[in-house]
């Protein structure tokens, strides 16, 4: 379709909370008929792992709602990040929020194109076999090939 709208997203973050916006927006745009591409770079590559290890932390994030007030030094104790991640996942489930895996699958079903930044794959010694199937590898020029034609481009 010549008049099909296009959405280009750069996903740069590798935490559980920040994995959501790219997949939510991409899957929704695809449902609205957009042609969508996500370029995963730097820590965003974590979102492409077959087995996601995404975590959430309140450190350096005073905006994160906490069930009880807690001094920052206490938040840094071993095991706190794992605990916060478990609590966040439980909360999301109880509120009917999809898992990152589910949204990612819905994106792939809707033919959202996933591109892994080759430079950062090499930089962090990622093993391409650790990534889900159906992704492509490319660089900045490849991103602009699509983004140059896009109606919306988001950096997340």
């Amino acid at each position: 379709m010549a008049d099909q709208k296009k959405l280009a997203i750069i996903a740069t973050k590798g935490t559980l909370d920040w994995a959501y916006p790219p997949f939510i927006l991409a899957s929704t745009a695809a449902a609205l008929g957009y042609d969508v591409e996500i370029f995963f770079t730097f820590y965003g590559l974590q979102c492409l792992r077959k087995k996601l290890k995404l975590q959430v932390t309140s450190l350096g994030n005073p905006g994160m709602p906490m069930p009880m007030p807690m001094p920052v030094l206490l938040q840094a104790l071993p095991g706190m990040q794992a605990m916060m991640t478990t609590m966040m996942k439980a909360k999301m489930k109880s509120k009917g929020v999809a898992s990152v895996e589910e949204l990612r699958e819905l994106c792939q079903e809707a033919e959202v194109r996933f591109i892994a930044c080759q430079m950062t794959v090499d930089l962090f010694d990622f093993n391409p076999n650790d990534f889900i199937d159906g992704i492509e590898f490319g660089g900045a020029a490849m991103f602009f090939e699509f983004a140059g034609e896009a109606d919306i481009t988001l950096y997340i």
């Binding site: 929704t28 609205l32 009917g96 949204l103």
Partner: protein
Amino acid sequence: MANFDQELDASGLNCPLPILRAKKAITSLSAGQVLRIVATDPGSVKDFEAFCKQTGNELLESGEEGGKFVFLIKKS
């Protein structure tokens, strides 16, 4: 109550799942058929309006029934 061809229960699901499930359900319908959606996400009211506006499907009805949001969408 208006007639419909298929029903989707999106109760308990949060954004963007009701829209994504609805899109899937509509894909399986033929033009002119009607999908009834039941949702509990208050955001879905504006979202289904926006969805229909952008996809060209017709929002026949949008209302509340027993504390839930009910939508009738006719496939274009």
